[in-house]
Subunit: 372 residues, 3 copies
């Protein structure tokens, strides 16, 4: 019993290892080694060479986008007369953001003043047959003003619309037939994109170093001929996204411009942007009632008497959304060490393991003499 | 020694495997199999059915949001008179973005011209007792203009404020008591959201296919009755976020509208948006001095002589931030293979492992005869 | 044979375990235990204490940013006369977003009207020698208007420019020498940032609770003295980003303001914002032709006759981009359990494993008596 006790205490310093069986059969052995080689080949070939696992990557891209439009278009309508549209007018907002709207079509309602007029007959809740239908002081749902309580009719028997307090005359309701800014597809957008990866202290611009000013004045982006020209023709963008610009221009739409940076800092020459274009406002159901993109904005004026009047401008157009993605890879010290370890020390480690086992065991199968 | 050497060379083709002990005890065996079954059940039940591990997922959602407000409100103030506010006025910016500000309250300072006037006594750094307190040519910190070097006082003994070059008259400083756009909570916001998952070539809109135009003209979002109506009443949004619209409307605030898409492409019918609402400008400390949201904008005019004057409009309101999240899942070929492999080949694989061991070992415990 | 069959059936309930060898050698045993202790120490020290693995984290930060500028500047130019710039003028857009542009320099072209004038000689495609060079009805590429088909020359032999239909007079082309809003570096930006982590129901603001109104009226951010003051002087921001404000102000640029939240909810006091500043529009190539940031906007007016005229304002300035990152950590129940399990049950689990093995094996190496 006392022997056992001291044994129990001593067993704290026992070394326990799994017992192995060595099968001395060449066929099985060959198969076993082939399997090992396959796994090693897979690790080196796929993980290291194809997936570049030896590289440390940084996907936390920090990006800044600035845009500038060029091009003008003339429109001639009965309401607005002959008008020249420059970037300061057709880019909304004008400040060169990564999300920008380009006017391609518009309906202007000039010289609106606050006052009393009849609601549009196309507004469902503005229709009336008697004064009681027009709830005084309430707004017309989806309408243009506040009801005064009067129903305006041409004659006793016809249907009318409620009188409203609004900016009069109210906007004509009609579907535009074709885009008024006919030249919009020839406008160009100059996209300046600066990226930074802090982990590696790496920064770059899509306006490549070799680019000179004269090149920027003439070039237009083309996947094959000018893949690094940062100036894009609007018509080309929609075409690359799979749509016709004139079709989109009438009612408006939304286009995504993706800039992808896949940088390999080990090959110092390789860090170039790639551009992709896609229409964003589409869904699987082809004919959607939700298509198109428009909004209204105003310009306020005052006459000599200090009274306000305004122009209401409903604009249709294409919204561009510039999205930047990317990652950068660089030879990693840690990965390097793992690689070296696997290559160099793999064998010696294995030897050590067996050494330990050999210390106390002299008659196990692992120490069998090589006798067939 | 030469025998050992050739043995070392040959040992390259040895097959080494762990040695197993088989315990022939029914109780232990049953426990062992039960444990195995539990693990298998867990894998099938939890990983495959509950977590849908067999599905490949894409979380790189590409989203486009367009918004449109409807509704009008009338205000009547001494400075601005009777005014009608439509979406073109109260939505800032007006272009239907995913981030938009709705005016619910305002202070207008009309007919400002450039000139000389006294700084507001509420501006700390604008107060003075003598001319020396007003540093000529320096701006008043957090003030409205540039000091001229004169201290304007009512009489010799009272405190005064510095004379400044500014847009005069300067804005009155007072805290609004209640929102002027009383009807703002009845405004509606129509949110069009288009999503795309490129991995599966899948796109969808929150304006569902079955939706017809007449439904869109009447419906209002309701979790239970109209969960797929894309039109939201502002008052309902703040209520769902846990706040009263009129409380937020006086000083302004910020609301997040989250659209969550969880799509299972294997069940083709299941891909619908879910809406959540939360107030963004709150912190754990209930009474924060940082609450509220306002900013100033201007409208510039010129009189007949070409001289500029302007209206300064301080607007309070609610900023809405529409955020889209989502992922899509589809039966994965790879996962499918893993599943099949586990089910079909699990057994045969086990058999092979033991076959190998049996080749050279005929007297180990694994080959014990079945004799109790 | 029948005995084997029933044996095969019974073997379904066999318990199979790996066979271990216990090496009774104190040196090896000590080494073995030391290795175990090292691993345990590593787990507790590095994983738990340094990496805080015991904490559950939430990186899905929900953030809302509001900004407000203070400060005025006076400019005096021949075109615009004496002008006072307040935040309502120099912040574009004015609505206090997380991305905002501050005007530091400008070129105004007042009183433009639609009409006919000569294209700028600096526009490449506007130069001409004869009328045929000016393609009637076509826009001048990168120019200001639509060509009328006439070539305007001083005399027969000189080069001229095409006559265009445009907003005349067209903008003078010149490079500004120094920023006109000389006071812009003293402007201050007040950044209100609200964050939420839904997983833990945690929300906080960068305007800390202890902050009182009088502190907010005087404080300026300083890494050491006022690290939690949310008010930043523009000149300090660019300095911290490593650039001189006056250099950036002439042609414009882009600055990123990063707010980092690293919150440990177990130490309730520790959840403070950290600010970092970086210039975004830089690339490794020092002298880039892409530097600078400017855009044009307009103000429209109407004269007494109702004819439109406008001011075209080209503004240069600094765009600030406020980015919020963060994660929050909290003691996790799951992790806690793993910890407890490792500490308490580790031993008993080991015992159980050996119990099972002992049931049927009485003469294996594991049961060796302790006799050296």
């Amino acid at each position: 019993a006392p022997v056992r006790c001291s044994g129990r205490f001593l067993s704290l310093f026992d070394y326990k290892t799994e017992k192995y069986i060595v099968a001395k059969n060449r066929k099985v052995g060959l198969l076993y080694r082939l399997t090992q080689l396959t796994i090693l080949g897979y690790i080196i070939g796929w993980v290291f060479l194809s997936k570049k696992c030896y590289q440390e990557t940084d996907e936390a891209i920090q990006s800044s986008v600035m845009t500038k439009l060029k091009g003008v278009s003339v429109t001639n309508t009965s309401e607005s007369g002959l008008l020249l549209w420059g970037p300061e007018d057709y880019v909304i907002p004008p400040q060169g953001e990564a999300v920008l709207f380009i006017v391609t079509n518009f309906i202007e309602t000039p010289n609106q003043t606050l006052g009393y007029c009849a609601e549009s007959p196309k507004v469902l809740n503005g229709q009336c047959q008697k004064d009681k239908d027009c709830d005084e002081g309430k707004m017309v749902v989806a309408g243009n003003g506040i009801m005064t309580g009067q129903c305006l009719k041409k004659d006793e028997n016809s249907n009318g619309t409620c009188e409203i307090y609004a900016w009069c005359p109210i906007e004509r309701k009609y579907k535009p037939q074709e885009p008024l800014l006919t030249n919009a597809e020839n406008f160009t957008i100059y996209i300046k994109n600066f990226i930074q990866f802090h982990k590696f202290g790496f920064s770059k611009s899509n306006v490549l170093e070799k680019t000179d000013n004269s090149y920027l004045k003439k070039c237009r982006y083309d996947e094959v001929l000018h893949p690094y020209c940062p100036i894009f023709r609007l018509g080309d963008i929609t075409k690359r996204a799979g749509y016709n610009f004139q079709d989109m221009a009438t009612f408006g739409g939304s286009i995504g411009i993706m800039i992808r940076w896949d940088c390999d800092l080990d090959k110092s020459s390789y860090c170039h942007p790639q551009y992709h274009f896609t229409r964003l406002d589409v869904s699987d159901s082809k004919k959607t009632i939700a298509s198109g993109f428009n909004f209204r904005h105003t310009r306020y004026f005052k006459n000599a008497a200090g009274e306000s009047y305004r122009s209401l401008i409903k604009v249709y157009g294409v919204r561009f959304h510039i999205m930047v993605h990317g990652k950068v890879g660089k030879m990693s010290f840690f990965c390097d060490m793992v690689l070296l370890y696997l290559m160099k020390n793999g064998g010696s480690y294995r030897e050590k393991k067996f050494e330990k086992a050999e210390i106390t065991q002299d008659n196990t199968q692992e120490d069998e003499e090589c006798s067939d």
